[in-house]
């Protein structure tokens, strides 16, 4: 069954699929298209998405298939484009703060942290210690929530229905803490430029500590369901492999990069907030396959628990807002500040012309950059693996399209 290619549709022949755009020492991106079956069969071009249960939103992937084998992919993005960066040019620094929550809506706190720190760096102010601790606690809670969401949906993509409900049950506890802290569950707008808007509520520390004891056995529970599950192993081991060199060449960051064996975590590499005070490890994988990425994220959840535990014990008294003027007018200049969001390096590049509004604001979203590794990962695999790999990259389309 062949579908005649209409004029204007993208040419999906391997040479023009965008590979070979990046070159890095030792990288092997100019891979050949896997050998075609000796029987002449027509290639099938199918659209996966934008309305598809497994593309995590409105991602459209054009797949070029030989039977079930993937010969090439092309991601079509932009279905959720809201022009966040352009909006920033028409809003004051304070007004723009809630907009960043809408990019990676699964990790809104991290987005806010990155933005607030970038502006603070531009203005050369610093949040007071208590605010720093609150920020770290909330950000790490958010990292766990984001990873839980990833785990549930990833498992669902691979066909395991049940983990989704377990992770949502436990993620709820984190959202409750957020709700008690700032009134919002998802798009929290938890931080302000210069510190935090809200003091912690009475019983915040107790809630967080209760959560720590609550969630540790739950993570074990997820692992019981999946880590040694034979079908899970078969579906994830050696699937979507990306080498460290390829990952670096493509700019991949976060757990996807670390699963390939590169120990790169901005919390250690370029400590921001007060991460340098805490004792934690950076889990890394060896094979760079889907299973390693799964393990890395599971270990990261445990490390986040360690960080929260230390932070909540050491949280000092004091003010929560730094000395920031009512009207934020950073000096003329530009700044790039990046943090380790749950999905990878989240960077903000802000150009200030000295007015109350950014002259230009550019976001470096981790999902967007990681998504371009999809093609490298899925070539030669089967359709079912495309779904697994999209899940393992952990994209949020709000962030990809902005």
């Amino acid at each position: 069954m062949s579908i005649p290619e209409k004029e204007g549709t993208s040419d999906l022949s391997p040479g023009t699929l965008g590979l070979g755009r990046a070159s890095f020492e030792g990288s092997n991106l100019e891979r050949e298209t896997p050998g075609k079956a000796y029987l002449d069969s027509n290639e099938l071009i199918i659209n996966m998405g934008p309305q598809h249960p497994a593309t995590h939103g409105v991602l459209r992937v054009i797949l070029k298939l030989d039977g079930e084998k993937v010969l090439g992919t092309e991601c079509v993005i932009g279905y959720l484009h809201r022009g966040v960066e352009k909006i920033a040019e028409n809003r004051t620094y304070t007004m723009f703060n809630p907009y960043v929550d809408r990019m990676d809506y699964c990790a809104a706190v991290s987005n806010g942290l990155g933005y607030c720190e970038a502006v603070e760096k531009l203005m050369n102010v610093e949040a007071p210690p208590r605010a720093q601790y609150i920020r770290v606690i909330l950000t790490e809670l958010n990292r766990i929530a984001s990873h839980q969401l990833w785990l549930g949906t990833h498992a669902l993509d691979i066909g395991a229905m049940t983990p989704l409900f377990y992770t949502f049950r436990d993620r709820e506890e984190i959202l409750k803490i957020f709700e008690r802290y700032c009134g919002a569950r998802l798009t929290t707008h938890a931080f302000r430029i210069g510190g935090c808007q809200y003091e912690t509520y009475a019983g915040f520390e107790k809630d967080v500590k209760n959560f720590l004891t609550f969630v540790a056995p739950k993570i074990d529970e997820y692992e019981t369901l999946l880590t040694t599950n034979r079908i899970w192993l078969e579906r994830t081991k050696n699937v979507g492999v990306i080498s460290a060199a390829d990952a670096i060449a493509l700019g991949v960051t976060g757990p996807v990069l670390r699963a390939s064996g590169v120990q790169w975590d901005l919390r250690k590499a370029q400590p921001y907030a007060n991460y340098s005070r805490f004792d934690f490890e950076i889990p890394i994988g060896t094979n760079g396959d889907t299973y390693d990425r799964y393990l890395v994220r599971m270990m990261e959840m445990r490390q986040s628990l360690r960080i929260i535990e230390q932070a909540v014990d050491a949280i000092p008294e004091g003010p929560i807002m730094g000395k920031v003027p009512k009207v934020i007018k950073p000096p003329v200049g530009e700044i790039y500040h990046s943090i380790e969001a749950p999905k990878g390096e989240l960077g903000y590049f802000i150009v200030s012309d000295g007015s109350t509004q950014p002259y230009r604001l550019r976001v470096r979203p981790p999902s967007f950059v990681n998504l371009q590794a999809l093609d490298v990962m899925v070539r030669g695999l089967l359709v079912a693996d495309v779904v697994a790999v999209i899940g393992t990259i952990d994209i949020v389309l709000g962030e990809v399209d902005r």
């Binding site: 497994a54 691979i158 066909g159 049950r169 579906r235 089967l382 495309v386 779904v387």
Partner: protein, 430 residues
């Protein structure tokens, strides 16, 4: 009452064998209605059980504890607009679900719910069953092709490859069970479903335990293959939601879609029935040879009534536990009526059992006997149906190549080995 109606009640043959067309037709109707109702019940049970596996409540709104949900679903599906895609092959699109349904339901002709509780007893029963149930794949392939769309096509191709490859391992496992039937005095085996169960009774052992562990392995192979055969999780690649949206029935909606569902669940019950018949003693109650005194017979004949009473008691507890708020009044009454219904069915069954035992009522005794047979058969099938749900809640989905590898490189060699070993052991023992 005409003689041909009453005559069957005294007969120990199936209506098909006895040439009793009236009862054969009645059986066909009873089975069609019964399987349809069973599928509706399965729909509710699956949703509830799956929900409880996943710390949810499942349907709770339509009727008490969602008991009327299947009816609501059925009504909704029947009232939905009947969509046939413009590009689809109209006739084939129309006929595909019927093929699947026909294949799934024709199998029931030879399924023995009891020694005479079957439409017919063919001497090639199991062959007929395998042949007809394999036709189900035709419905799927045709549906995928007629939809003229990519996802259904891939789903249909996956499904056909999968069903064909698992048929092989399945067939070999069945052959090893059939070989066991020849271990009797006359030394002749049988393909008749009823005779297979009788053979288990004569040999005094369920074939799952025969030549342990050979029977058990053959049963295990069949248990895996039947999940693949019916396209259920973890082998539900043909309708893998996250990959192919809905697989071969992506373009189907409304009544046609519900026919596919009906066919799928009917096929599940059918393959479970084969497994029960071949390895788990079919309609035989536990230990029919060991505990064969009339007192034991009586005790086991009480089971159906007691089961319904127990279900009724659960419903009563559920009624008592409902919130006392007036909002729940109708729900409480509804569940109470349901409890009363179950309880009265239980009492009726008990009454029949007692009457059949004590009084000299041949008809009551015959009814009681028949109910006991059907009860034990359905209980065993129900366990399999629960397993189907359990698998779905537990496991991720296999990938296509892995599925093929399991079928051809794991199950097939093992089933061949079991077949040969069964033959050798059978010769040595006899």
């Amino acid at each position: 009452m005409p003689n041909f109606i009453m005559s069957y009640l005294g007969s120990t043959l199936t209506p098909g064998q006895a040439g009793n067309q009236f009862w054969a037709l009645m059986y066909v109707l009873i089975i069609f209605a019964g399987v349809s109702v069973a599928v509706m019940c399965m729909n509710w049970i699956e949703r509830k059980a799956l929900a409880h596996f996943q710390i949810r409540l499942g349907p709770m709104r339509v009727g008490p504890h969602g008991l009327l949900q299947p009816f609501a679903d059925a009504l909704k599906l029947m009232l939905k607009e009947d969509i046939i895609p413009a590009e689809a092959d109209q006739f084939v699109f129309w006929v595909a679900p019927l093929i699947g349904l026909l294949a799934a339901f024709t199998v029931y002709t030879v399924i023995p719910f009891g020694p005479s509780q079957a439409v017919s007893d063919m001497n090639i029963g199991i062959l007929f069953m395998l042949g007809v149930s394999s036709l189900g794949v035709l419905g799927i392939v045709v549906a995928g092709w007629a939809s003229n769309s990519h996802y259904p096509l891939i789903g249909a191709l996956r499904s056909s490859a999968q069903m064909v490859s698992y048929e092989v391992a399945m067939g070999l496992a069945i052959v090893s069970a059939i070989m066991m039937t020849s271990m009797n005095a006359s030394g002749t085996g049988t393909l008749s479903m009823i005779e297979i169960v009788r053979a288990q009774q004569h040999q005094g052992i369920w074939f799952i335990f025969k030549f342990f562990p050979l029977g058990f392995i053959a049963f295990g192979i069949f248990a895996v293959a039947m999940v693949a055969e019916t396209n259920r999780a973890p082998f539900d690649l043909a309708e893998a939601e996250s990959e192919l949206t809905a697989g071969f029935h992506t373009e189907y909606s409304g009544l046609r879609w519900s026919l596919f569902m009906l066919a799928e669940y009917a096929a599940m019950i059918a393959v479970s029935s084969i497994a029960v018949t071949l390895w788990l003693g079919g309609w035989l109650r536990p230990f029919p040879n060991l505990l064969h005194a009339p007192a034991w017979d009586f005790l086991f004949s009480l089971f159906p009534g007691l089961t319904f009473l127990a279900l009724g008691a659960i419903a009563v507890v559920g009624t008592a536990r409902m919130p006392s708020h007036s909002f729940f009044k109708i729900q409480r009454i509804g569940l109470g009526i349901f409890a009363a219904l179950l309880g009265s069915i239980g009492l009726l069954l008990l009454l029949i059992a007692v009457a059949g035992n004590s009084a000299n009522l041949a008809v009551a005794a015959r009814f009681s006997e028949g109910i006991t047979y059907v009860y034990w058969f359905m209980l065993k099938v129900a366990i399999f149906m629960y397993l189907f749900i359990w698998y779905r809640a537990t496991w991720p989905r296999y990938r296509f190549d892995q599925l093929m590898r399991v079928g051809w490189k794991v199950l097939l060699p093992i089933s061949l080995g079991v077949l040969i070993l069964t033959a050798i052991v059978g010769v040595v023992v006899s």
